[in-house]
């Protein structure tokens, strides 16, 4: 019997990172034929990310930044090769093209909202994507509740967890060296670069500490290893923060917590002010007490248990009539309390 073809569309490196484990799980389960697509304005970066998992996209489609042009390209492509379903994270144009051709849309990390009330922006795109999604796969109970608030039918939502944790595990397995624990690495995301200068004086007070500015172009395996080695990550980027949490590193979120309220509630991320001097003061407190850092680590990663990719693959297969839907991700135990 021919396996249904499912297109997994990576429109950015962050999306590719989360889709790669799903493609692997689909192959392992043997019910679906996953087809990876590298699209968006940076298909080479998407391609590189898939390559870090030993995968290569079967289709590369540069779509630029114009949603109308991206929609046209996807529509033209699917005119000749209609998939049974598509899996997206945030790629609205791809989802729209699929919806236009009445192809079921599966969304991972569904229900994320930045709480940005401005009506045109990231959340507006996400709300539109929600409206055309057939099956909503959420990473956390809170994001699932966001969908219920927007009147999505409860039966169309499944709590699978996020696949960034699966990706972190897969990349750790593929990296040849163990994380460096000899120094306390303060890794600073490119989005928080102004903080670097304010943090450097701390390396005089704490000689075992080092400040590393994360280069966005760093190969995925090296980037994952760096995050796994991090004493703490400083960033304003939700996706990067989630990757660090998945790798076991606590996070200082510069500015508002945005879409990472679960991590702040769990204690594994802290919201620090945008002022670099304030970040430095908070960092000094963390370097001065390993207990503080370990207490953050204990908060864990609320965005996935490392088994999400298998659930996503199984749920997609079930949507297409192959097998049954998976059980949702079990509720997370409260930090430090055994059940």
């Amino acid at each position: 019997m021919t396996q249904p073809e499912v297109h997994l569309i990576g429109g950015s490196r962050a999306e590719a990172l989360r889709l790669a484990p799903i493609a692997t799980a689909m192959r392992e389960q043997g019910r679906l034929r996953p087809v990876l697509m590298a699209a968006g304005p940076d298909p080479v970066g998407v391609d590189d990310t898939f390559a870090a998992f030993g995968l290569s996209p079967m289709i590369t489609m540069p779509t630029g930044n114009d949603p109308a042009e991206a929609l046209r390209r996807f529509d033209a492509f699917w005119g000749g090769q209609v998939p049974s379903a598509v899996v997206v994270r945030d790629f609205l144009a791809a989802a729209m093209a699929a919806h236009w051709r009445r192809v079921p849309v599966v969304q991972i990390d569904a229900g994320r909202r930045s709480s940005d009330v401005t009506p045109i922006g990231e959340d507006a795109d996400r709300r539109l994507l929600t409206q055309i999604t057939t099956m909503h796969l959420s990473a956390t109970p809170l994001t699932a509740m966001n969908l219920l608030d927007e009147r999505v039918a409860a039966g169309d939502i499944l709590l699978t967890g996020g696949t960034a944790a699966d990706a972190a595990r897969a990349l750790a397995d593929r990296h040849p060296t163990a994380p460096d624990r000899t120094r306390r690495l303060i890794v600073v995301g490119a989005d928080a670069a102004p903080v670097v200068a304010a943090l450097r004086p701390l390396t005089v007070r704490y000689p075992d500490a080092a400040v590393v500015a994360l280069d966005d172009q760093l190969p995925r395996l090296d980037r994952a290893a760096l995050l796994a080695s991090a004493y703490v990550l400083v960033t304003a980027d939700d996706d990067l923060a989630e990757e660090a949490l998945a790798a076991g590193a606590p996070v200082f979120l510069v500015g508002e917590p945005g879409g990472l309220t679960e991590a702040v509630d769990a204690g594994s991320a802290r919201s620090v002010g945008p002022d670099p001097a304030t970040v430095a003061v908070r960092m000094a407190g963390l370097l001065g007490s390993r207990v503080r850092r370990e207490s953050m680590v204990t908060g864990g990663n609320p965005y996935g248990d490392g088994l999400a990719a298998g659930r996503v693959a199984q749920a997609t297969a079930a949507l297409l009539g192959h097998g049954r839907f998976p059980d949702p991700m079990p509720a997370r135990p409260v930090a430090g309390v055994s059940r």
């Binding site: 042009e69 929609l71 709300r127 539109l128």
Partner: protein, 116 residues
């Protein structure tokens, strides 16, 4: 004839006669609003948007073999909402209309757009 262009100009200028003329008999109509839809409901909803909105802008247009996809920015007095529209066109008339609204923004900024 630029059917899509005529369609958007007609409904955004609240020309309900032209809107009705553009729709083929038995045109299939779908939307994601929480209310049943037929040709009359569609025309009424577009009329309400046209008269209530401060501005309606076509953000993007994508043509296909038998239709067009349109993306709109609907600007109301206190905020704005997005809408996607997929039209199927045959013989110079619209045979299918599929609309996707940002229902959260619509309910907030266009109250009373549709009967719930």
């Amino acid at each position: 004839m630029d059917v899509a262009g005529f369609w958007t100009r007609s409904w955004t200028s609240d020309d309900r006669v032209a809107v009705r003329q553009m729709l083929a008999p038995d045109a299939e109509i779908e939307w994601n609003l929480d209310a049943p839809v037929d040709e009359e409901e569609l025309v009424q909803a577009l009329h309400r948007i046209a008269v209530f909105a401060d501005d309606v802008t076509v953000l993007g247009q994508t043509g296909a073999e038998d239709g067009v996809a349109l993306s709109y920015d609907l600007v109301a007095p206190f905020g704005r909402a997005r809408m996607m529209e997929f039209l199927t066109i045959a013989g110079g008339r619209i045979t299918e209309v599929r609309q996707i609204y940002d229902v959260v923004a619509i309910d907030r900024y266009f109250p009373g757009l549709y009967a719930q």
